[in-house]
């Protein structure tokens, strides 16, 4: 349980962090909730860690132009307890409160989770359902990408070598929107066996699903069925259709598909009950 030796850098500016990252064989350290255990088990052995915790401007939540800008280093606890988010993007706050345990929520960050793209992480379901964007900084520039485009596959994102995810942008929810995140947790790790984020507004629904397959996804067919029929059960039943479901010692593919439909119905019903 001891990592290989590595260089540790704690840059004071984003430019410095980007320069360090360009050196190769370096990994960005955010909250370290996934990376550090992998290093301690020697599954990962980066030559250098670039710790973002002292880079200014990467934490906090600010409202700007109808959107909420959340710094990449904002912890799950800060998201969970943010009055602004609870009022204006409650799905994200609710999802953050379902992550891991208190210790993980005090250390883990939204940027770290998004960039890691763990197929059973909670955030991606919500980020898809609220149509979040991410900002990616590189030497001499920045780009903004829809989270749905950013998330490519299992542990695979659109982050280019040398890029750092600096923030997440979520729209302010309009009045009357209803949301819910429902998760069956794996009792050992706290990860989602299946997690479903639902967001309802004016009769249309967005459904983000995590844990079910290799990456989190929007359940487009289910959303369409709901828009056409307003039938929660029918829509929920469509969530796992055609999905190549994960299977492990905690849940078989069949069970995950079943639970995805059950939890989709629960999330939809809860979101509907909160919508007006």
């Amino acid at each position: 349980m001891i990592s290989q030796s590595f260089e540790y850098s704690a840059p004071r500016t984003l430019a410095e962090a980007l320069a360090l990252l360009a050196g190769g064989d370096a990994k960005v350290l955010a909250g370290g909730m996934s990376l550090i255990p992998m290093m301690k088990l020697r599954l990962a052995a980066p030559g250098r860690l670039v710790d973002l915790s002292r880079v200014p401007g990467l934490t906090g939540i600010r409202e700007q132009g109808g959107a909420l800008h959340i710094g990449a280093m904002t912890t799950h606890y800060e998201v969970e307890s943010s009055a602004v988010l609870r009022a204006k993007c409650p799905l994200l706050a609710e999802t953050a409160s379902a992550i891991g345990d208190v210790q993980v929520r005090n250390m883990g960050t939204i940027g770290g989770s998004a960039a890691h793209a763990d197929p059973a992480a909670d955030y991606p379901a919500a980020l898809l359902a609220v149509e979040a964007k991410v900002t990616l900084a590189r030497k001499g520039g920045e780009r903004t990408l829809a989270f749905s485009d950013f998330l490519i596959d299992t542990f695979t994102t659109a982050l280019e070598p040398g890029e750092i995810l600096t923030g997440v942008i979520v729209p302010v929810e309009p009045a009357g929107a209803g949301v819910s995140y429902q998760k069956m947790l794996q009792p050992a790790s706290g990860f989602a066996i299946v997690g479903v984020a639902a967001r309802v507004h004016n009769g249309s629904v967005r459904i983000g699903v995590t844990g079910l397959s290799g990456k989190a996804f929007r359940a487009a067919a289910a959303e369409k069925i709901f828009a056409e029929t307003r039938d929660v059960q029918k829509a929920a039943a469509a969530v796992p259709l055609g999905v190549e479901a994960n299977s492990d010692i905690h849940a078989s593919a069949d069970y995950r598909r079943h639970v995805a439909a059950v939890y989709a119905a629960r999330a939809l019903n809860a979101a509907l009950s909160r919508a007006s």
Partner: protein
């Protein structure tokens, strides 16, 4: 000298906070990993990634040459060290030679292959990666029933049937009982492999200085370990000191002598420097013993009126690749306790001990009794279902009567005392059983799945009479009154979290009339404490307590003699910390008596100076606690998730010394029982890879997953010892799993579900619900 005598309240029976807790919760306690020494080196162990393989060659050249590495040892280097001992003896037992480092073959994933010793732990870990082992991988078998099937890979080539032993025991006339039975119910019941998961992993520090070897180890049995490691290393036992600092939980997993304890002793002698090895969690999961691992085939015979007649058991024990200290003995405890609290006059049991390419199983909280209780309590419920009888009624009908003690069981035990209906009736009252069943009927009518599960357990503890244990079943205590009147107790029981520093102080303070603050309890250092056996099998208070009690009675005789001398009277009694002359009323306090005994200006006739007594107490019998647990559950019909709505535990552990500590033991025990019932399972794949190799995949219950535990008691004193105590360390675990499983099966029985094996994962239950009860 006359002072006002106020007899203090007795401390025994009071809820008193633990004396040991302030240092434990403020981080000032010393565990093995806290030990630092000048020149200390660090060891890391290379372990086999294969469950079965021949070792063609090991190349340690690069590791040995790595800067900072001082030594690398392999199996060839430790050929002179004796094997890891098995303390259990059974007729015909096959005992594989268990070398402390693999010689030419590995038998399970995690098998130690080489040890690297370096200046620090980082270097040692790096150097492990430089050792090259050429393995010829062989087929493995990880399931005990598969291991017994024809053609299975042989774990040990010399025993191709993988059978370590078979064992038969019967009492009464089981065949006749089954022939005459009106009802016979059969069921295959498993108790899955569990990983004990003590919060502190194991750790060893060893130092060889001036001819003396000292080993610090996180163990439950310092004295036995000293004897056995001295034999393994061939060092004189009186030049080996074992120190057990604070131990962060054992649950039986540290009731053992492990390869690493001898290995660190060997390394310290070789390098001439102190050496430390701290087990990682991954090593803890791979290499420290697991518990349970039963596949049981039960048959119960009864009359139509519910009277039980006989019980048969075929027990397949997954032993793993080797025998650790007590591995083969654990299932024999299941057989002893298979009749539970019931009047089974005819029983028959067959054990088959199967080798598998897995880490050995051994004692884990309850050790054999949770398996037995789970079996008989499931069978009583199955019988109740078969006869459409109430599970409470069928238990009450078959309990051994309160007037039948001591009760000779069909398995050869003598139950000491009991009133089995009492805790059950109390538990039924607490849950308001009648109304609860009505509520259940309403829930069912509304389509909800609600269950009520009973478990009435008995357990054997206070191990034990020496003839029934492998290495002595007595316990020792020394009590000293220091010249200033302070009291020092030394117990051989080596507690490791149970709280004997508090309960033994309560006993000593009451007996000697001093305050608890005046008493210090010392344990866990073979250079300080007289020989002792250790803490396991709920024996700390039940065997160590009486040893202390008798030591104090010896000492009191001496106190009275010195008191009589000082008071110049021949009619003196001792109470409340004072010797009193019954004629004059004059008194002399304990401190003055003790001071005089060391000063020794004058001695009572035939007395030695000093104020100290030691007692080695041999218990005449085991003690048999019992109780009733009730779990109320509700199942999520859509997902199969179990919610424990209510958990009631009524335990009878005899006389209670400290209710707070008893509640703590019950709570912890129940939580581990819930772990087995709902969450935990060590999963090996077909190739012997442990898939639940970390806490991310092995689910121990967290606080948020545990219900409120309503704990209460009945008190039926044991006649076995003068304190009337029985032991409670394992009761919660033993009583719990059948209550939870019976409750869940009860919730699903109208869907055709008869039985579910643990752990009751949501998926397992959902599949049963979906299949209409057919597994």
């Amino acid at each position: 000298m006359a002072t006002t005598i106020t007899k203090p309240d007795t401390l025994v029976g009071k809820r008193i906070k633990r004396k040991e807790d302030p240092r434990l919760i403020t981080g000032t306690a010393t565990y093995v990993d806290d030990i630092q020494m000048p020149g200390m080196h660090h060891a890391c162990i290379l372990r086999s990634p294969h469950a079965a393989a021949r070792i063609r060659s090991i190349n340690t050249h690069a590791a040995a040459g790595h800067p900072g590495v001082v030594a690398v040892f392999t199996g060839a280097d430790v050929a002179g060290v004796g094997p890891v001992p098995c303390g259990a003896s059974l007729p015909g037992l096959r005992v594989p030679h268990h070398s402390i480092l693999a010689k030419d073959r590995v038998y399970f994933v995690g098998h130690p292959v080489a040890v690297v010793v370096a200046r620090d732990r980082y270097i040692a870990t790096d150097a492990l990666d430089l050792i090259e082992v050429d393995y010829d991988v062989l087929p493995a078998v990880a399931d005990p029933e598969k291991a017994l099937a024809p053609g299975a890979p042989a774990v040990h080539p010399e025993w191709p049937d993988n059978i370590a032993f078979t064992y038969h025991q019967e009492g009464g006339e089981p065949d006749k009982a089954f022939a005459e039975a009106e009802v016979v119910v059969k069921q295959r019941i498993t108790s899955q492999r569990l990983i004990p998961t003590a919060m502190e992993t194991r750790g060893v520090v060893a130092e060889h200085r001036a001819g003396q070897l000292t080993i610090w180890s996180s163990t439950q049995i310092p004295h036995l370990m000293r004897t056995l490691v001295a034999m393994m290393l061939g060092v004189p036992e009186n030049l080996l000191r074992v120190v057990t600092p604070e131990v962060g939980g054992g649950f039986g997993s540290k009731l053992n002598v492990y390869a690493e304890e001898a290995l660190m002793g060997f390394v310290a002698m070789k390098i001439g420097k102190p050496v430390k090895w701290i087990e990682s969690r991954r090593e803890n999961y791979l290499c420290t013993i697991h518990g349970r691992g039963h596949v049981d085939y039960y048959e119960i015979a009864a009359r139509k009126d519910g009277t039980v007649l006989g019980l048969k058991l075929k027990l397949i024990q997954d032993l793993g690749a080797y025998h650790q200290l007590l591995t083969p003995a654990i299932p024999t405890l299941s057989v002893l306790m298979m009749p539970g609290l019931y009047r089974f006059r005819n029983v028959s049991a067959d054990i088959i001990g199967a080798f598998t390419n897995c880490v050995p199983t051994d004692a884990y909280r309850g050790a054999g009794r949770p398996e037995a209780t789970h079996g008989v309590e499931r069978m009583m419920d199955l019988l109740a279902v078969e006869l459409k009888a109430d599970p409470a009624e069928i238990r009450l009908k078959n309990f051994i009567g309160a007037d039948e003690f001591p009760y000779a069981t069909a398995t050869g035990l003598s139950y000491d005392s009991g009133d089995y209906a009492k805790p059950l009736k109390k538990a039924l009252d607490i849950v308001d059983y009648h109304h609860l069943r009505q509520e259940q009927a309403r829930a069912k009518a509304a389509g909800r799945l609600m269950g009520v599960g009973l478990s009435t357990y008995g357990e054997i503890c206070a191990f034990g009479p020496s003839p029934a244990t492998p290495a002595g079943g007595w316990e020792s205590a020394t009590v000293k009154v220091e010249p200033t009147g302070k009291v020092t107790v030394m117990t051989g029981a080596s507690p490791h979290g149970q709280g004997e520093e508090t309960t033994f102080a309560q006993i000593a303070a009451d007996e000697l009339g001093v305050t608890m603050d005046d008493v210090t309890v010392i344990h866990g250092d073979t250079a300080v404490v007289q020989y002792g056996i250790g803490t396991f099998g709920s024996r700390g208070t039940a065997v160590g307590g009486p040893a202390l009690y008798f030591a104090i009675q010896e000492l009191k005789k001496k106190i009275v003699k010195f008191g009589a001398m000082l008071l110049d009277s021949d009619d003196v009694s001792f109470s409340g910390g004072l010797c009193v002359c019954n004629k004059s009323g004059k008194t002399v306090p304990l401190a003055a008596i003790a001071g005089a005994s060391y000063r020794a200006m004058k001695l009572p006739a035939g007395e030695q100076p000093g104020m100290m007594a030691t007692y080695f107490w041999e218990p005449p019998n085991f003690a048999f606690p019992f109780g009733a647990h009730i779990a109320v559950t509700e199942i999520d019909r859509d997902t199969g998730q179990v919610a424990i709505k209510r958990y009631v535990a009524v335990d009878d552990c005899g006389k209670i010394i400290n209710p707070l500590l008893v509640d703590g033991q019950v709570h912890g025990g129940v939580v581990q029982g819930i772990g087995q019932a709902l969450y935990e399972q060590a999963v090996y794949d077909d190739n012997g890879q442990l898939l639940t190799g970390e806490l991310t995949d092995y689910a121990i219950p967290k606080a948020s997953m545990v219900p409120w535990i309503e704990s209460s008691h009945t008190e039926t004193p044991s006649p076995v010892n003068p304190l009337g105590v029985k032991g409670v360390g394992e009761a919660g675990t033993i009583g719990c799993s059948p209550a939870v499983v019976n409750s869940v099966v009860d919730a699903l029985s109208h869907l055709g579900v008869r039985h579910i094996d643990m752990p009751l994962t949501p998926e397992r239950i959902w599949k049963l619900i979906s299949a209409g009860g057919r597994a």
